[in-house]
């Protein structure tokens, strides 16, 4: 596990050596702040974050590809992959280390964004149960998004291609829910089951159910598994 943490630490550090970490931070908190300001300045505004989480998940969806695009693609492009992979580390240790770095950065952003509910607390009486459940849902979403982004990054040595691929895969899971309206009942249920949007809705309402948790966990596990396989496969070429 020490090897994993070493890789995660190095990667987390490099987010803040380059402008990447700061840009992502400003983007996430800036857009959230804007939405928050718009929501609370409404005359009939309520002290909750239901509408906001919806936006936050979407921002995360756009941010995750940017956050993850360099993790493996950059190593491949610069050739540093060779030194990294000839260390006595297992493929999954590399993948997990990189994954934890991006998750760490995102968790940090979530903690910083707690300023919004704290402002609500000062001027109103928000339902903390719903807020925490919303954050939990956001974290589960991010787990899956970042795992998918990491997988995309493992497929190519071009960071932009990795980001676009990740965004495409994420949007697919996001938008697929809309299909449910135009297909048959039984197929619609299936489509709803794999839609990120549908699965997130419960969290937003303050309901913590096992079904969406299982959905996000399996999506994460599958994407991470595919990442490791992709790393293994790259050795074969």
């Amino acid at each position: 596990m020490r090897k994993v943490l070493t890789i995660a630490g190095k990667e987390l550090r490099s987010y803040f050596v380059s402008p990447m970490g700061y840009v992502v931070m400003v983007f996430f908190l800036g857009v959230c702040g804007l939405i928050f300001a718009l929501t609370v300045s409404h005359p009939q505004a309520q002290a909750d974050m239901r509408g906001m989480f919806h936006t936050m998940v979407f921002i995360t969806l756009m941010m995750a590809p940017v956050l993850t695009m360099g993790l493996l693609a950059q190593e491949r492009a610069s050739g540093s992959m060779e030194l990294l992979m000839t260390n006595p580390v297992r493929d999954w240790e590399v993948a997990l280390g990189k994954y934890l770095a991006a998750m760490g950065l995102f968790t940090g952003l979530c903690i910083l964004s707690l300023e919004f509910p704290l402002i609500l607390e000062k001027y109103g009486d928000p339902d903390w149960g719903a807020i925490l459940s919303g954050y939990l849902g956001l974290l589960f979403c991010a787990m899956a998004f970042i795992a998918i982004g990491l997988f995309a990054s493992s497929l190519t040595s071009n960071q932009i291609a990795a980001a676009i691929l990740a965004a495409f895969m994420l949007l697919f899971f996001w938008l697929i829910g809309w299909l449910s309206m135009s297909v048959s009942q039984s197929l619609g249920d299936v489509v709803k089951y794999v839609s990120i949007y549908e699965n997130f809705q419960d969290f937003e309402k303050g309901i913590i159910d096992t079904k969406p948790i299982l959905f996000f966990l399996s999506l994460t596990a599958f994407a991470l598994f595919m990442t490791v396989r992709s790393l293994e496969h790259r050795r074969m070429i």
Binding site: L5, S80, E82, L83, M85, T86, N87, P88
Partner: protein, 312 residues
């Protein structure tokens, strides 16, 4: 320490190496010599478990590089060709990262860090960002990380490429100082480099090992003739014929670079430069240039490959 058996690697339809079998004994410095695209890097990447062979086996320190790769990788210090290191890290920071990834303890890391910084002459720039380093210093960081975990085997892929002459000498001396303590396999396409640093040379071309011996034996075996380069002012047609009559001269051929320039081949061990100069001056041909022709690697390959063809 290193042993391969029938190593073959295909990239798609392209065969990079074919049936490479070699061994490197403990404490030996072996040069892996070949022109570009001969299969040196491919062989080394297989040995370091960066990629598996298509067929054949390889072991490092007794550990199979495919089945027991974690152990074999632990036994290797590797400097890849064009050693690419994270440019945004500081030298010590990077070395600490390497130590962490290799599972080294705190005390061990500290000891070895001091040692490699000193051995590789990095103390003064230990806390500088690698991106600001010259190629030579970057190569030193590469060597430092390879030595960091005190591996019994060092695999160095073209360690002197891109360095200036002073740095090349430094790196070669560093490698030589490792002899005995480490088993070293270094690849190069520069024949004198192999002659200077290695106890044994393995020559690879078109993915196949074509010769294997000490550098001295190898050059002696290849060098069946000494060759001189002669350039004169006169364009006397009779010149080659007359030169051939000098004792110990075996052949005279045009050097092919225009003007009256010739390659004069002589018997092994003979030095006819004085006689040749005398002769040219006496004839009044106007001596412009006279020097021995160094055996280049290209010549070695030409010799070795034509010999092979001769057998067929």
């Amino acid at each position: 320490m290193i042993r391969t058996e029938g190593l073959t690697k295909f990239y798609g339809n392209h065969q990079a190496i074919s049936e490479v079998s070699l061994h490197v004994n403990e404490g030996e410095i072996v040069g892996f010599l070949g022109p570009n695209a001969a299969g040196k890097t491919t062989t080394m990447r297989i040995l370091t478990s960066f990629m598996p062979p298509t067929s054949g086996t390889a072991t490092v320190a007794g550990h199979d590089v495919v089945d027991d790769s974690l152990e074999s990788r632990r036994c290797i210090g590797y400097v890849p060709e064009a050693c690419s290191i994270y440019p945004d890290m500081r030298a010590t920071q990077y070395l600490r990262f390497c130590a962490g990834v290799r599972g080294m303890g705190k005390a061990e890391t500290k000891d070895r860090l001091d040692y490699v910084l000193e051995t590789c002459g990095l103390q003064e720039r230990a806390n500088d960002i690698i991106g600001t380093f010259s190629l030579g210093f970057r190569q030193r960081v590469g060597l430092a990380q390879a030595l960091l975990h005190d591996p019994p085997v060092l695999i160095l892929d073209e360690p002197t490429v891109g360095l200036d002459p002073i740095q090349i000498v430094e790196v070669r001396n560093l490698i030589k100082s490792l002899a005995g303590e480490y088993t070293v396999m270094l690849s190069t396409h520069i024949l004198p480099e192999a002659q200077m640093t290695c106890e044994r040379v393995i020559i690879i071309n078109h993915g196949e090992i074509i010769a294997e011996d000490t550098p001295q034996a190898l050059t002696a075996q290849i060098r069946e003739a000494e060759r001189l380069y002669l350039k004169v002012k006169s364009d006397d047609e009779a010149l080659p014929r007359l030169l051939r009559d000098i004792p110990q001269v075996t052949a005279v051929s045009p050097a092919g670079d225009g003007g009256a320039a010739y390659h004069v081949d002589t018997e092994v061990g003979a030095d006819v430069r004085a006689e040749l100069a005398d002769f040219v001056v006496k004839k009044g041909w106007g001596l412009l240039e006279l020097r021995p022709v160094e055996m280049t690697l290209e010549d070695v390959f030409r010799e070795l490959t034509t010999e092979e063809e001769g057998v067929e």
